[in-house]
């Protein structure tokens, strides 16, 4: 017995276990200290959670694009943040036009869906173009090659759009019916609306993948490309459609983001959300659609609540500057406990 224990002993396991326990202790101690100090009121926690959910739903919508493409091509499309930027930046000009003509505030229920459709369309076109020009010719090359191409494509898109629209910052117009807060609380109405919009889109995607012929074909291609092509599925068409759906969701996310956080529209705006959404996709289990949604929401809430809850309780100065530290520590934490992500990648035998 004792002999076995010594033989099985591994330093790696020991270190990982110490890390697990250490991080959990830190999180518990930090949270306990903060809650015991009574620094924040219940209402403040509620507003932090809701703003985290709104931010998280944006991450989730972008993360779906990463996860869909990974599911089918086993490739990380690092230019996806720029696909989001393309839709958001282009739709800004339409939103500005709607605002100047008064259409936006007179018929918001018509104008907002129009904006979302327009941004979705632009992003979809960019995503399709990206697939055609940058990825399809490289489909059979080693996995590192399209990855590097994606990074190049990302720079290309950033500076192309800078050439189109300039380097300055723009802001979406504010929409009157979305301002103000939910009666009786401090929760801004627009954050709730953003969350609902995103939820509807995510459910729509889930239905598409699980209950339509197209979804069935997508699932089949992600299981095994060769066999599905033997079954009469046009692989190229499915891959293009996957990029198109992911792109459209990213473009929609761009406008939805503009509804509640109008500032900061510029050619570089896709970079950080892109990285965060990729993190969310990994967090939820890359390749897993529900996982990407949960990962995005989880990341958004952790970022909003974490610094004030955990780091402030540990006495870390300037806690809010360490928001990204919290987010990525959570990623490490989740991956230590569940290397496959929260829900895990849905693996066919062949991939694993």
């Amino acid at each position: 017995m004792n002999q076995n224990w010594i033989e099985d002993f591994s330093w790696v396991d020991l270190i990982i276990n110490v890390l697990r326990v250490g991080i959990i202790v830190l999180v518990i101690v930090g949270s306990f200290n903060t809650l015991a100090s009574g620094r924040f009121t219940g209402e403040q926690w509620l507003s932090l959670v809701v703003s985290g959910l709104a931010q998280g739903s944006i991450y989730a919508l972008i993360a779906l694009g990463y996860t869909l493409v990974y599911g089918i091509l086993l490739m990380i499309n690092f230019a996806h943040g720029e696909v989001y930027m393309a839709g958001a930046f282009t739709a800004y000009f339409l939103a500005d036009y709607f605002n100047r003509t008064g259409f936006l505030n007179n018929y918001p229920l018509l104008a907002i869906p129009l904006l979302i459709l327009f941004a979705g369309f632009i992003s979809m076109m960019v995503a399709i173009l990206l697939e055609r020009v940058a990825y399809r010719p490289l489909r059979n090359s080693p996995r590192l090659v399209p990855l590097i191409t994606a990074i190049g494509a990302s720079f290309f898109l950033q500076y192309t759009f800078r050439g189109f629209y300039g380097s300055g910052f723009k802001s979406y117009p504010t929409i009157d019916i979305l301002s103000g807060s939910i009666p009786g609380t401090n929760v801004p109405l627009n954050q709730v609306v953003v969350f609902i919009f995103a939820l509807v889109l995510m459910l729509g995607l889930y239905w598409l993948v699980e209950h339509t012929r197209l979804g069935k074909a997508m699932r089949a291609v992600s299981e095994d490309k060769e066999v599905s092509s033997l079954m009469g599925i046009d692989i190229d068409r499915i891959i293009v459609l996957t990029f198109a759906i992911g792109g459209a969701l990213a473009g929609a996310a761009g406008v939805i983001n503009g509804l509640y956080r109008p500032q900061g529209v510029n050619f570089f705006m896709g970079f950080i959300p892109g990285i965060k959404a990729f993190t969310a996709a990994v967090l939820g289990g890359i390749g897993n659609i529900i996982g990407a949604m949960l990962g995005g929401l989880f990341l958004g809430v952790i970022e909003a609540v974490g610094p004030n809850l955990v780091l402030a309780g540990l006495g870390v100065p300037g806690a809010n500057q360490l928001k990204d530290v919290i987010a990525f520590t959570m990623l490490v934490l989740v991956l230590i406990f569940r290397p496959q992500g929260i829900l895990g990648e849905r693996l066919a035998e062949k991939k694993a």
Partner: protein
């Protein structure tokens, strides 16, 4: 044969002696720039050409361009050549640009950088190469304080930008004397500029009897400011004093826009007085932030006034078009002029047309600048390169005109030593 040898000897002798008799020798302790007949005089600019702060680069580049233009592009009968490098607003950018500039032995000096972070990284390299780094907008106090005092100063650094020791102090003075503030919360973004400025502001505020209830930071790239604003609201609720609260955030766009706009939604900060600094005193700020949040907001920053400045603005409109996008174009103009005047002063021309510019002599000439009448006031350079005396600073306030009529810049409402300034009615 003998004749041939003596001819050869004569030829050799001429070749050796000729340069010694006619050309100027370099006797400068850290080297010279030696220009052949017809070579242009090169100065470099290291500004932010790409990225979020590109407006600062455009602003300073315009000032340099006009200074050169006014001399018809010539100095001492030679063409003035401007070598443009992009230093960005980061340490990495500053270092890379400095490496490229330092490898060009014909460059006499550099106008730049815009950001203190880039200057901190670029300075050791350029100082070592014997060059001048003359900044129009790097305001961090550490740049002109010697290493013994915790600074990063090295010989060759000069700036026409004000030192933030001045800006932070006048911001605190304004907040306490004019706004009657008793509580202060500050937010920076981790850059040497923002961190240094908020620290001076907070220290002066405390010295003057106010209470600093919160000093925090956000990341460059953050969009959700609700967590830090909620933290500030909690600090406000926990503070024992009662009285007007000033929220000072000397950062850049777009983080500054997010903080101003989102502060509206955070209960407990409704009455906070928003106060920014020269980093967000830019033309696009009012429109991007929105009237609800930013109307009446204050900014500390450089105030440049006077007849010569009006002429400069007219020239700008003619040469470049529109109005300068930030507040440091006049500083760049003054820096370029001081540098070019100093080159003209120390350059020695040889009989064969070579021009020798001693690098240490050039530094000495700039350091000796005293009572220079520039656009930004009367400039006198200190031993550690601070040429601005802090007189050209003030507080601005956004009025409705900046939102509805695209007016820029906003009116100056307060000047140190003067107090509230009557607004001009138009």
């Amino acid at each position: 044969m003998k004749k041939f040898f003596s001819l050869l000897l004569l030829l050799l002798a001429t070749m050796i002696v000729a340069p010694m008799t006619f050309a100027q020798e370099c006797d400068d302790e850290i080297g010279c720039v030696v220009l052949e007949d017809g070579d242009p005089i090169s100065i470099a600019t290291m500004l932010t050409i790409s990225g979020n702060t590109a407006f600062l680069g455009e602003d300073s580049a315009g000032g340099v361009e006009i200074a050169v233009e006014q001399r018809d592009g010539e100095l001492l009968g030679r063409e003035i050549e401007i070598v443009e490098e992009d230093s960005g607003c980061s340490a990495e950018g500053g270092q890379a640009a400095a490496q490229r500039v330092a490898s060009d032995e014909f460059i006499v000096g550099v106008i730049g950088t815009n950001c203190s972070s880039a200057a901190t990284a670029a300075l050791p390299i350029l100082s070592e190469a014997g060059m001048i780094l003359f900044s129009s907008s790097a305001t961090s106090p550490s740049l002109t304080s010697v290493p013994d005092d915790g600074g990063v100063y090295e010989p060759g650094f000069y700036r026409t930008a004000h030192n933030d020791l001045f800006q932070g102090a006048i911001a605190a003075e304004f907040a306490i004397d004019e706004l009657g503030a008793s509580r202060l919360a500050t937010i920076h973004d981790g850059s040497p500029y923002a961190d240094g400025l908020q620290a001076v502001m907070a220290d002066t505020f405390t010295e003057m009897g106010g209470e600093v209830i919160f000093q925090g930071a956000v990341n460059v790239g953050d969009t959700d400011m609700n967590p830090i604003l909620t933290d500030i609201a909690a600090a406000v609720a926990a503070s024992e004093t009662d009285g007007p609260l000033v929220l000072y955030f000397p950062i850049f766009e777009p983080e500054g826009n997010f903080i101003a706009a989102q502060s509206l939604d955070v209960p407990g900060l409704e009455d906070a007085i928003l106060f920014g600094a020269d980093g967000i005193l830019v033309e696009s700020f009012p429109e991007n932030t929105g009237q609800d949040a930013a109307l009446g907001m204050y900014f500390s920053g450089p105030v440049v006034q006077g007849e010569a400045y009006e002429e400069f603005l007219a020239l700008w409109d003619e040469e470049i078009g529109g109005v300068p996008p930030a507040g440091f174009h006049a500083h760049a103009y003054d820096a370029a002029n001081i540098l070019l005047d100093a080159v003209a002063e120390v350059a020695v021309e040889g009989d064969d047309g070579t021009l020798v510019i001693g690098r240490q002599a050039l530094r000495d000439a700039i350091t000796a600048t005293e009572g220079y009448e520039g656009l930004t006031g009367t400039l006198t350079c200190s031993e550690t390169g601070d040429c601005a005396t802090g007189e050209a600073l003030g507080v601005f306030q956004l009025t409705e005109a900046e939102f509805t009529e695209d007016a820029w810049p906003p009116p100056v409402v307060w000047l140190p030593g003067v107090g509230m300034v009557e607004m001009e009615m138009e």
